[in-house]
C-alpha cells in the first residue's frame, strides 16, 4: 500500500494521470491499442495461416512477420508499463489483471514456440505441413488471444480501487 502510494506520487505517474493534453494518458492508451493490434493481430493471423494454409505453401517467407509482431509487443509492453505507472493500485489489486498477464504470456510464448517449431524449421520452397500438436496449439492460441483481449478490455470495469487512497479504511 505504501509502495503503491509512493509509485502514484512519482512525477511520471502524476503527469500521466493529470496532464490535460491528449499526448499524456490518451496517447499512451492509443499506443497500447496499436501495439496490441499488431502483436495480437499478427499472432492470430499467423496461427490462422498455420491452421488453414501452411500445408499448401512454404512457411519460411513468413519468418519476417515475427519481428514485426515483436515490435508490436514491445510497444504494448512499454505503453502497458506506463499505464501501470499511472494507476498501479487499479491494476495490481484487480485479479483480472493477473489473468490477463497470464493469457498474454501464454499467447506470446506460443507464438515464439510456433516460430521455432514451424517457420524457422521450414524449407523455403516446400509446404510446411504442420503436425497435430502444432495445429492444436494454433487453435489454443486463438482462444488465448481472445481471452487476453477480453480481460484487457474488462480491466476498465472490474477494478475495485482506483488509487492507493481508496485502500484506506
Amino acid at each position: 500500500m505504501n509502495l503503491l502510494a509512493a509509485l502514484e506520487q512519482t512525477a511520471l505517474s502524476v503527469w500521466l494521470r493529470e496532464s490535460p493534453t491528449i499526448w499524456g494518458f490518451p496517447f499512451v492508451l492509443f499506443l497500447h491499442t496499436l501495439g496490441l493490434g499488431i502483436a495480437a493481430g499478427l499472432g492470430v493471423a499467423l496461427n490462422l495461416w498455420t491452421l488453414g494454409w501452411a500445408d499448401r505453401y512454404p512457411a519460411a517467407p513468413l519468418q519476417r512477420a515475427f519481428p514485426v509482431a515483436s515490435a508490436g509487443f514491445a510497444l504494448a509492453l512499454v505503453s502497458g508499463l506506463l499505464l501501470l505507472a499511472a494507476y498501479p493500485t487499479k491494476a495490481l489489486t484487480d485479479p483480472v489483471f493477473y489473468l490477463k498477464l497470464a493469457l498474454v504470456g501464454a499467447a506470446i510464448g506460443q507464438l515464439e514456440w510456433l516460430r521455432r517449431r514451424l517457420f524457422d524449421a521450414a524449407s523455403a520452397d516446400r509446404p510446411a505441413c504442420p503436425d497435430r500438436s502444432v495445429r492444436r496449439f494454433a487453435g489454443l492460441a486463438l482462444a488465448l488471444w481472445a481471452g487476453a483481449v477480453l480481460t484487457g478490455r474488462l480491466l476498465a470495469y472490474t477494478y475495485n480501487y482506483l488509487t492507493a487512497a481508496d485502500l484506506l479504511p
Partner: protein, 166 residues
Amino acid sequence: MIDAWIEWMETTRLSAAMLDTRWMWPLAEAVHFAGLVLLVGTVGLFDLRVLGLGRGIPAAAIHRLVPLGALGFVFSVATGVLFVFGSPDQYFYNAAFRWKLVFLGLMGANAAFFYAVPHRALAGLGAHDDAPRSAKVCVALSLTFLVAVMFCGRMLTFFRPVGGGF
C-alpha cells in the same frame, strides 16, 4: 436534424439494452477490439506481403486471410453501432468520432480503388514477384488510415461533448 436522430435513437430498445444491461457495454467493447485485432492482423499480413516482406508466397495466397479480417471488421462496425445507439449524444457532437468517420470513409474509398485496379494485377503474380507500385501505395494508405481510425477511436472518450454517458 442530428438532434432528431439522437432523440429517436435514445427511445429505441437497443439503446435501453446497452445502458441497462450489466456487462453489455463492456462485452461489446471486447468484441469491438477482437474485431479490430482480426482486421489488423490479417490485412496487415497481406499488406506486408504486398510491400515486399514474405516474398516466396504469392500475395494472392495471403489474401485468403483477408475475408476473416472483413468478418472482424463487421463485428467492429456492428458493436460500434451499438455504442452509438447507447449514447448517441456522446458521439454525434464528438470531434474524435467525426474524424473517425472521415478516416473510415477514406479507408473504404481506398479499399474500393484497390479492388477496382491494383488488386487485379496481384492475381497473376508468382510467389517471388514484387507487387506493382500502385498496389504498394494503396496498401500503405490502407495501413495509415487504419492507424488513424484507431487513434480517433481511442480519443473518443477524451472528447466528450457533455458529461456522463459512456
